[in-house]
Structures are given as structure tokens and as C-alpha cells.
Symmetry: D2
Subunit: 445 residues, 4 copies
């Protein structure tokens, strides 16, 4: 049958219009025959709203892409060519807890780092593994394109605990860094290349190129020169790095590195923000409601510009771009999460890393990184240790592994605080953590 079948798990997401737009604009080279938007019963209402918008968008574009809406995941997966996963187990309510509970203990509350990242992993991994197992049965040749967070952990969980090896984890952080550099240099983004290497939300730009020429030294000089007035490089400069620190580091950190290299500042900001305007999740929740109000408008037949403020810009477009490159064997380079296989020295072959890959019909082929710079190797290893113990806990439902993951996370100040946060969060997310509550697994306190 001509054209592709794509199954989008979490299809009722507010991001879906970006995905639909992405497929529409690439239709000539990436002919999507059927786009299946799948959601769970709790998301049916949103699915219908966003699905109706998607249909209007397709109709306006005048292309024969069929939009299917369903709560039957198996039907959607059957013979799919690509499966995109953009799920949020527990919805934004769960994210609110991930952000609020740690703050009560003086610990950063964030959805992909620290205690929040751990809990999100514990909730999401089992669901993604269920999808992977259904894929083994229903579409074993399909690619899973995951942009659910924590994307690195999830990619590794699929690689280690399922037979689906055609899995790629996507993130919009590298794209944002590239755009930030382009803006700073005042050039088109496609003239800038960056050697990305590290883990998801822990990725570094090792070298920066303009038109293929290594300009890392010049760029770092510019970044740390103090003459920043007028420049608005959102992703780097405004993060407020100490220039002397960057001069020692000699590479580009990503925005999430602030959680580790500016822990105290971030915590202070979070506390203030929580008081003033609620946590990020609460802000996002309001944004989402506004978006869905917009989506309901029967005259709307394009992706509304307001979506870009939502925070996950480029995510869905990155997914379309990746699918396009795989389908057309383009050989362009994209930073994605894949099996390490020796790409970064010292990380197990079986672990997921976020690195530049040549995208081919047979999937992403990573470019060799070798040893990471000495100064950042340790932190990357520490996060990888955390991720691996967290995955183990997610899969087994073992309380002690979960506590171990929480304690070794560098944002958590002690085993005692780790236990307090874990106990409260396990209880708060109880409905979405069945693996921890089987057979009275949890110890009584």
C-alpha cells in the first residue's frame, strides 16, 4: 500500500497540531497515508478537539492524509511504519506534584531532573515498555520515535528491556542551542553545526562550526567577553553563566546544566516563581486550557501561533524531520538519543546517549565522540548511573532501588531527605505506579 501509516501515542496532546503541520509541509517527500491519533479514555475529549483541528488542517492543505482517532492502541499500531510516543502518564496533575513535592523539602522540583525526573521515569517506563511489547507483535519493523520525557531513560529502557531496537529518543534542546548560537552570530541556523555529545538534558556542544569552520574559540570568547549588551542568546548568555567558568570549561553547556552548575540559583528562582505564579506545570496547565479553547474554533485550520509559547517548540517538527530523513535516506546529521555502542568512551555500549548521528534508511548512525572532556565526564557518568538505577527501579518496582536512585541523584542532599521525598511521591503517584504496590511491596514505615 502506498504511503506511510503513522501511529501517534498520546495523540490528544496540545503539540499534535505541530506534528500535523510537519507532516503536511513534507507531504511530497513523506507521504503519510494514515495518521492514527491514539489516547486513553481520560484524554478522549482532548483527542476529539485536536483530531477535528487536524482534519481541518489536512483538508485545507488538500492532501489525502487520513486522520484516525482511536482509544484502541492495538488497532493503531497494527502494521504502522512509525510510532511516535508523546505521553504524559498522570497528565499535568502528576507534573504539578513532581514540581511541588521536592520544593517542600528544599529540593529542586523539575519534570526531567532530580526527584521529579525520577518519578516521571518510574511512571512512564512501564507504559512505554507495554507499547514496545505490542509493537513486537503488531509492527515489529516499525520505528519508535519517542519524545516523551525523560527521553534518555526511556530510550535506554526500550533498548534494554524490549526487543524493539529501532527506537530513537528526541529532544528539542540541541535544536534550541543551535538556534541560540545562530542568533548570537546573527546568521541563519542552517549555517551553524554543533558537535553534540552527552545524555538527554545533559548534552554538551563540544565544538561549534560556522559554514563548517570550527569557531568554538571565537564563540566562547564572544560569550565571555562581557560585551553582551544588545545580544540576546536566550539559551546560553541569559542563563547567567560565570564567564570564567565557561573559559575553563571550553565548551557549550545546555540549559539544563544550570540544575547542576547553578543549583542554588535555580532553587531560589523556583521558590520565588512558585510563590508568585505557581510552578511551571501550573502555568503550562493554564496555557493548555487556552490552547484547547483555540483548537475548538471550527474556523481554525492551521497550527495557531500561540502554540510556540507552550515550551516544547520544535519537538514535533524534529520528529517529522527525523521520520522524513529515515524514510528518504537523506544522510543528514541530527542529534538524537540512540544506543551508545562505543560512541562515547566509558559509557556502556547498551546505554542511550544523545549524539550527532547520520540519519539513514536503517536509522541513525552515530559519529564517534571518543572521550568526553575530563571536566564533564564525571557528571555525565553520574547521571547515567542515576538513570540506570532508576530504570531498574521502574522495571522491577523495587523500593530500595528507587531510594538508591533518588539518593545518588546529585540534586538530592541526603539519603534521609531522599527517603522522605520518595515516600511522599510514591504515595502521591500511587495510581500510576502499580509496580511498587503489588503484593505489599512497599515497606511499612
Amino acid at each position: 500500500m502506498k504511503g506511510l501509516k503513522i501511529a501517534t501515542i498520546g495523540g490528544g496532546s496540545s503539540y499534535t497540531p505541530e506534528l500535523v503541520e510537519g507532516f503536511i509541509k513534507r507531504y511530497d517527500e513523506l507521504p503519510v497515508r494514515e495518521l492514527w491519533l491514539v489516547d486513553i479514555p481520560e484524554g478522549e475529549k482532548k483527542l476529539n478537539i485536536v483530531g477535528a483541528l487536524a482534519r481541518r488542517m489536512v483538508e485545507k492543505a488538500g492532501i489525502p492524509m487520513k486522520i484516525h482517532l482511536t482509544l484502541d492502541r492495538r488497532e493503531a499500531l497494527k502494521d504502522a511504519d512509525f510510532v511516535t510516543t508523546q505521553i504524559r502518564v498522570g497528565l499535568l496533575e502528576a507534573r504539578i506534584k513532581d514540581e511541588q513535592i521536592p520544593l517542600k523539602y528544599g529540593v529542586i522540583g523539575q519534570e526531567t531532573n532530580g526527584p521529579g525526573g525520577l518519578m516521571k521515569g518510574l511512571r512512564t517506563i512501564p507504559v512505554i515498555l507495554d507499547i514496545a511489547r505490542e509493537m513486537e507483535e503488531l509492527c515489529p519493523q516499525a520505528w519508535m520515535i519517542n519524545f516523551s520525557n525523560p527521553a534518555g531513560m526511556i530510550t535506554e529502557a526500550v533498548l534494554r528491556y524490549s526487543n524493539i531496537q529501532k527506537v530513537v529518543g528526541l529532544c528539542n534542546v540541541p535544536i534550541g542551542m543551535r538556534m541560540g548560537v545562530a542568533k548570537l552570530l546573527d546568521v541563519e541556523a542552517d549555517r551553524v553545526q554543533i558537535d553534540f555529545a552527552g545524555l538527554n538534558h545533559m548534552v554538551f556542544g563540544l565544538h561549534v562550526y560556522l559554514d563548517g569552520r570550527n569557531i568554538t574559540d571565537r564563540l566562547l570568547e564572544q560569550l565571555t567577553s562581557g560585551e553582551k549588551s544588545g545580544v540576546t542568546m536566550e539559551n546560553i548568555v541569559d542563563l547567567g553563566w560565570e564567564p570564567d567558568f565557561i573559559k575553563g570549561l571550553r565548551l557549550l553547556p545546555c540549559p539544563y546544566h544550570r540544575y547542576y552548575y547553578q543549583t542554588d540559583k535555580i532553587l531560589k528562582e523556583e521558590k520565588e516563581a512558585a510563590q508568585e505564579k505557581g510552578t511551571r506545570a501550573e502555568v503550562v496547565k493554564q496555557l493548555e486550557q487556552d490552547l484547547f479553547e483555540l483548537y475548538k474554533d471550527p474556523d481554525l485550520n492551521i497550527k495557531p501561533p500561540q502554540l510556540e509559547k507552550r515550551g516544547g517548540a520544535y519537538y514535533s517538527d524534529a520528529a517529522c524531520s527525523l521520520i522524513h530523513s529515515i524514510h528518504n535516506d537523506t544522510g543528514d546529521i541530527q542529534p538524537v538519543n540512540v544506543r551508545n555502542n562505543g560512541t562515547i568512551a566509558g559509557i556502556p555500549p547498551e546505554s542511550a546517549v544523545e549524539v550527532n548521528c547520520v540519519i539513514t534508511r536503517e536509522g541513525p548512525r552515530p559519529l564517534t565522540v571518543g572521550e568526553l572532556p575530563v571536566a564533564v565526564r564525571g557528571l555525565v557518568q553520574q547521571i547515567k548511573s542515576f538513570e540506570r538505577v532508576a530504570i531498574e527501579a521502574a522495571v522491577t518496582g523495587d523500593y530500595h532501588q528507587a531510594l538508591l536512585a533518588m539518593t545518588i541523584n546529585p540534586l538530592v542532599p541526603s539519603d534521609t531527605v531522599a527517603k522522605q521525598i520518595l515516600d511522599e511521591m510514591l504515595e502521591a503517584h500511587r495510581d500510576h505506579l502499580p509496580q511498587f504496590f503489588r503484593e505489599n511491596r512497599l515497606p511499612t514505615t
Copy 2:
């Protein structure tokens, strides 16, 4: 010439009587012909006091060991068989600063971890490398037995930046852990063996054996059972680990792991102690003064029992034991700091690690460790990253490398605080950090 020549750099230390006692009691198998106690002019007074005591001890023992006191290091090194280094650059005054200054910024102040450990490394490494270079000239076949802190960093600096490859770093932490376990089990210490692996002050007990039988599970069960009343396992139990954390970890942490897994508690304790009785350095300073008062007593001709309270118990004895084992090719197993050479997976061959070694005439031969358990691998790598950047800074006097080391240390909360602490500490230790003040190297603020 029969008998050994030993040069002890920092001979005026209050620990020296333990060293002397160690040589005396092993004299039959380890015939020390000459013990040269070397110190700097500022330490001459103490050197004379401790030297006189040493001579009285030797006289009482009735052995022909000659004690030499000198400020001329080269004379002492000339043709030495073993060189022990137990120096404290800047004396206890410097340690007081290492402990006090970070606390002002809400950061743990400790002499071998965090900012204090960094500064101690920056002060000590150049001096040790000077000694190593003199050894290359005056006693190239000698072993350097270092128990100056930070012992791991110093061992690695000598391995990487001198031609002295016969260097061993010593620590009393493993001995303390072994004694603690023996006490808990109520058995003689020599019936207990522990598989030690990690870095200096970052060492883990991977398995514990009683009479050669692996009792790790049983021991951990006992440690976490809650029935601790009456037991006083100073180095483990009283550290107050969460039992559930230890159940997840499945190995023995060392006391210094508290700085990383109980950061908030330690900081709180330090703050309280500083208010009540001063920092540890101030307490130690008083202890030292009391000890030297004792040492002056012309009737004293043994190591006074009060020395054991000083905190560094077993250090000097460990040194004598190591020298004895090398000299006599005993083949016993001791945990020491040596070149990794693949012993611990993922650590560079050239880096120093603290692991069990068979002690032979040709030096320590490490036993293969392989991969560290996933959960601790990351932290060990992070500390090794810190150590390597710190060594680089110590050797080059590069301000940005020093700031980088400070910022990536897991006890430091941000690049900004790192810079504040570093700037104040560099200034405070200016006299002992000439490499940072050559040619106006430091950036003007």
C-alpha cells in the same frame, strides 16, 4: 651498607612517634639503619621536640637505629630507600582557612573534600612534585610512601608529572572500616577482609569476608536490621545511614561518603560545631599543642597513648606495615593508592585508585576489580574528574582550571559561589600558591 635509610619529609609532625614506634617494633625484619626526619625552618622547633622523643624511644628499645634531624631535604633524600611524605603546606593555619571560608558561603569546609580539598591539593602538589624531582636525582630507586592529603590526587600528580613511578598513597580509612566491621562482629580484625575499591576518601567495601567467607549479605542485614542497640560500629553504624539506602546500595560506604550522601546533615553539624567548639582544625590545633607539651617531657620514651585520639591513628603504622611488606616481599594484601592500569573499569590507566593490592618487593600489585556497581560508578567518576582538573590547576597555576575544578565539585552549589570561594581562598592562601601569582596570572576582578 646493611639496613635501610628512610627519609621522612614533615618529620616534625605530631604523628612521628607512631612511625618511630612502628619501625622499632618491626626492627628485626625491617632493620632501619637511619631515619631522617626532615622539616622546614618554620617547623624546626617541633622537629627538635619530636626528634628528641624519637631518640629516647630508640634508646629505650635498645636498637641501633640512628635518628637524624635536618632542614636539608637533599641530604636526607640522598640514597634513601624509602621516602615518606607527611607534609601539611601552610600548617594547621591553612587547614583552619580551608574549613572556615567555605562555611561562610554555606558550603562544607573539610580538608580533603570540597573547596578545602581543592585548596589543599593546590598547595601540596607542587611541593610533592619538587620532592619527586629531587628523588629522581638523589634516590631514583626509592619508594615514595605518601600519606599527605589529598592522598589520591597527590599520587596521581606524581604518577603523571614526575618520573617517580614507585609511589604509593596511603590512607587509614580502609583500616578503620575493617576494624569497625571486626568490632561489630566481635572478632579479631585480622579475620576480616574487605574488597576495597574506589578512590582515596571515596572508597567502597564491595564485599566483606570473615575467615575468607563472603558475609556481605549477612553483615548488611545486621547493619540495617534496626537492632543496633549496644553495637558501636563507629565507622558505619553511627554514621546514621538510612537502612533502606544501604539495602539498595548493597555495599559498605566509607565515612567520607557522608559528605556526598548526607550533605545537608554534615553541613548542619559543621555549622553547629564551628559555633560551639570551632572547626575541626581548631580542635586539632589544641590537641597538637597538648601533644607537643607531652612530647617535651624528658622522661617520656614511648608513644604516648593520647596520640591515638589525634584522628590519624593507624596512618603511620600503615606506612611501616607497607614498607615492611615491600622490603620483605610478604605478598599480603593491603588497600593502597596506585596507578589504575585497568584495575577499575572506566578509570584511565594513568589515574590513581584506592584498591586492594598484593604487596611485593616490586611494589603493590592491584587485584582486578572490573566494573564498579552501577550506582556508585558515577560518583567515583565525578570525583576523578574533579581530581584531574584540580591536579591540572595545581601544576599549571591556571585560574580557570581552578575555577572549573571548584565548580564541578559536587559539594559546591554553583559557578558563582565557586568563584566567590575560590577568589577568597586563593587570596587567603596566597603565600602557599606561588604558581597562581606568577606574572599577574590572576584575572583582575
Copy 3:
């Protein structure tokens, strides 16, 4: 129950008297309560002869060690403390084929190297894995001490394809090298130590020590000085190495390295020997018959001195020594085949290597080797590649894997000759290679 139960698979071997002697002389420290000699029906006659001798030896020694003779392997394994395996699948008849068939094609015929080594592995590995599986059921805590050849391949097969991880492979080559060096230096063997590293029958002496002092340079000088008259260092000098080659190599090869570094000479020798006195197997067969004639003598109650000429001297004694060291947690160093676990760089952790180990109650603990010298690394890797493909072929019975193993073996000159030899040898050993003849697995020619 006091005392140990030992099961010796292949108990009817002519080596058994050495094993019995080894247990008798160590009885005080290694109280063997029951020694079960197990054999197959074809070996019953020999088993009875050797068993009767064993009983006379025990009686003469006056110790309460019970000798059991049985064809029921399961009964022997039940609750055993140690299982020694000294089997020869297909008996000496098979070895004769291993030695003769390759020679017909101008290829070295040897029982542990080249085509013969491959075929011996294919025959032996399935039987050893059967024993391992019975051990899992009947004595899961026992140690398997294997001295069946090819010992390295067999150790790795057990490590990779069974749950028995307490397995050690033994060889008498390192002992022979040590004795050879001692003889050359005219000192007692226990004053000589050698750093052994490599694979079974592919082991190198990296450094040689006399009384713990590294004398490698001096020894190599002596070995290559040309003043060899009068010296009879059977294992090294008489091998006829080119002195200039050894000067480049800077380490001790083992006798089996001749197959690789003197391929043409060995082949010539083998051809001549085969014409004059038959292959080695035929010689051994006669020796064995003579031995069994001796063993029948009802007045014989000691190990007859003629056994030492048999060629496998020290093998059984090495086994007793190893069992003694494990049982008594002696901590001495022995070269054995164990899981690599990072000991030798570049070899997979799961592979077997032959290295110096500290022998403890919990088994052998290897000493770190790190990188092998550049010049020998490649050959070791090549043999390990061969071993791994051979094991795969032995376990699966896959013809193409067997041919691949044969072709990549460095003693085989081409894929075509490999196929000819393989086809003839598979047919010749058909009765002992059931895995290759299931379901018409073999391709028709």
C-alpha cells in the same frame, strides 16, 4: 559432615595416582573424606585398575579417605565440594585422529592447537556442559576444577553457557616454565615468580622475579647470550628460539608458542616423528598401556615414578594445590584460567584468560595485567577470536561456525584446506559430535 567430598570425572585416567598422592600428602590440611572416581562404561576396566591402586595408596598412607568407584556420575556429584574434570572424549583414539588427519593436509596436528584443538573442543564442550548442568542441580556450591583440554575454551564455555561460575581451568604449562627458569638459574623453584598473562597454551611470562626481584632483563640476556652450553632449560632454551627474536620480544613465550612462531619447524618435526615413531598420541597410547600394566601390580601402593614421563606431570598436583588453597584460604598466587573481568585489557570481561590469581576461599582473584605488550596482543586476540567461534560451534553444532573457526585458526592455510580437514574430521569423530548430525544439519557435499 567432616571432610570434603571430591568427585573426579574421568577417574580412570592414568593421571589419577598423582591426584591421589596429592590428596594423601595434603591430608592434614585438606581432609578428603570421600574421593569419587567416575568414568564411563568404556573406561570401567581402567577405572577398576586405577581405583584399586588408589585404595592401596590410601591404605599405605593410613588415612581415612574413602575411594568410591562408579559409573553413576550423578551419585558422585551429589553434594560434592569439588568436582575435578579430566576427561578425554573419544579416548586416545580420537587424539590420534586429531594428530593424523591435519598432517595429511600439510597442517600441524596437535591436540590443543589448530584443527585438533578445534575438534577436541567440539567433542568436549558439550560433555562438560552436561556435567555443569548436573552440578547446578546436585552440587551448585561446588567448584569445578577442570584440567581437560582445551582448558581455556572449556572454562569460557562453562562461564558463558552454564550457571556454574565457580569454575577454574588448570594447566601445567606455567608450572613447567617456572621450573625451567629455576633450573636455568640453578635455584629452588619456589624462589622464582613469573607474571603470567595470556590464554591457555598461549601464556606469556611478562616478568620474572627471583626472591621478588625483577630479573627479567638479566634472564633474557642469559637466555640469548649464546653461552647455553651445559644449560638445560627444557621449556625455553631447548625450544630453539632465535636469540634476536627473544631480544625483540622482551618476555618469555610458552612452549606452545612454537606452533605460532615456528610453524614450519614444528610441522617438519611432526612429519618426521610421525614417520619414525607415530604421532604423539600413538606414543602416549603405548606409555599408557605400560602404566596400566604397572598399576595392576598388587604390590604397588605408591604413584610409580614412570608416570612423570607421561607428559602431564604436575597437572594433578596443581589441582590438589588449588583445592588446598581454596579450602584453606591461603592467599597464595597461582596461574589459572578464570573470567577475565577486565584483568587483561581488550579481552571481553566474560572470556577466560590464564593469569596469576590470589587463591582465596571464594576462589581465584586475578591480579591486574592491563595492556599486554603490543607485539603479542594481536596473536592473543586472534586465538581468543578462534576460541569464541569454536565454542559457539560446539554449543550450536553449526557447520558454518565450525568452518569459520577452522579457517581463522592461524595454523590453517586457507578456507579450502579448512573445509577439507573439517569435513574429514567431522566424519571421523562423528560418534562424539552428535550436535553436528542432528536433523541432517551437515550440508551435503
Copy 4:
């Protein structure tokens, strides 16, 4: 100054017209302003012939590329953008010796493998390192594009023993394999991609793709099906591999693998050929003379088609293609010899490997390979061992290292034969091996 300056060392080579043609046809995108053809006095006559042809070719093409002919290498290197090296130290006379002498000892004589490859390395490496040192001074930013053999060894020698890190080694074997597969499949070559990995003249095709789809299994099936009639896949099928061997191997060997997997056949072929028509070098010498006769024709102004029979087809074109891709930052994938840096597991980071690379303005960026298949890992490691010892010998002129390299080469049957061949070849090539004849370095026999 607009346009590139290219210096071609060994410019008098018969291959130069292909190089010139390559630059002419790419002129629009790769504007070569000056092409400097450099040779040594012995090559002046050829240089003038080939230089005159080059000028006629440029004139016919009507492009402003200036051809310079010179014996002054420094002048040519000064400010060059690219330096191509295509030298043959000792000319074809030396190659004749490399091919003939080993044959006398029953050993394969070949210019890049076995004894010949070693001697060619010993002669060529010092000259290339001289060029590299001149580049450090005269054009430190230039790329060295080496297609002198043995290309892998030479690349590694430059990486390890000079400051020129912008060096790439080129070979036409991968191109030939790709064209062979295309021919077999009857498709255009640019629709075929192969995952190349290994060493120079020891490269494997791990997977084969048609239009980006992995067709390895299908291709191997076709290759081994026996239905080869009518197919002429010169580089694979006609090599006469045993189909069952290829079925076990599951990847594409390169033609040079015949030396290792079909040693006896090659030797036989060589012996016969030497008798019938002389060694390959002698054949080539005649071909060269014929070519230069052609080149002299003042009416010839294109690359004569006869050049393609010379054997090195595609070499020069590969060089032009690589230079084009670097200059234009094309990002296409080419198999070249570069620093390993972790690309192939188990090979040192500093060693050269031949792997697929993305070609960028900053040079080739290798794609991660990870572990090579078990069966071929060993041979690759063995050749790398040989190469490293050979480089060491080439740089130091150490006789024992040279003998070590010769002995561990898998084509040499023993240390004794190695010594005989080495001694004869050192003497035969004496004029081009000054490093071995300084200060009476060679041992007297």
C-alpha cells in the same frame, strides 16, 4: 589569494594524469590555482614527461590551473592547502625485491602485506615523517592526503610521530569493493553503500545497502549460491572464496584478505606467476614504461585509457574527491584511514583505522563501529600489532623490533625464516634504510 595550492609529492608518478584529470573535472567547485608536482632527482625525467602532459591537459580544458614542476620540496610545500603524497621509496626496483626475496624462502612476496609490506613501511615512513616535519614549518594548516603504501601504517606513523594531525590515508580497495557489488547487482555504484571497517588492506564490508536498505543477507546468499555463472564480480566472487566460509563469516572480506584466508593458494599463484611472467612489480614496470612512452606523445592531452589497467585505478580520483569534499564541506561519506578515537572497540585511540567517515571542512569524522564481529577481531588486532611494531622499528631503526615485526606477521612461518628474510632484505634495501645502518646498529652475524 583565490584558489588552492596543492603540492603533490611524487609528482612524476604514472598516476599523475588521473589526478590532473580529477582536478580539471572538478575545477568549478574545487578551483586549484597551482598544482606543484615534486619529485627527486632520480625522477626528474619522468616528472618532465608527466608534467608536460599535465600542462597539455590543462590547456585543453581551458582552465587557469598553473602546473609547477620542481625538485625543491620546500618551495612546493610553502603555504600549500593540500599535500598529496604518492611516493615509492626505491622505485619499482625496490618493489621487485619486496616481491622476490620472500618467495625464495617460500613466503608470499607482496608490496603491502608480509615481509614486503614491512620493508616498504621501513623505507617509506622516515621519508613521510620528513615531509610532515617540513609541513609543520611551511604549511602547518594543510591537509596531508597520503596514498603511498602501506597507507595505514603511514597514517599512524604521522599521527604518532609528528605534529601533523590533519592527515588522511587513502586506498582504492573500498571503492573497488563497492563497484564490484554494484556490478554483481547490476546497479549504478552510487546506489550501493557499504559499512567499511578495519585497517588498510584489511578492511571488511560489515553491511551492504542498496538505496539505503540493508541487503547483506540477500547479497551473501547470492554470492554463495553457486549460481555465479555469467556474473563477474571481480573483487569478490572471482577470488574463489569457499561459499561455506562466507556463510559463516556473514560479511564481505576485501581482496587482500586472500593473503590471510587463502595463504597457500596465493603462494602457489605467486610462484607460478613469477616463473611465467615475473613478479607483479616486473609486470608493472613494463606497463609503466609503456605508459611513459604514451605520455611523451605531444598530441596527447587527456588521461590515456591505458592508465586504468595499471592497477591503481580510482586512487587519484579518490584523492580529488576527498579534497573536494573537505574544501566544500560536503558531508558525504567516504572510507578513509584516520585516527581511531574509539571508533572500533579494542583498537587504541591513537591508531589508524580504515572506516566510513563523514567528510567535512574540518576533515573526516568517523562513524561509530563498536565491536568488530568476533571472528575477524583477532586478525585485525594481529595486523595492528604488526603495524605498530613495524612503525616503531621504522622510526628507531632498531633491528630487534624489525625482526619482531617480521616474526609476528602472520604470513611468516617462523622466527628463523623471519631472520633470514629480514637480513637479506635489509641488505638489499640498504640505501633506503639509513636508520638501520647508523653507528653500526646492525648486529654482526
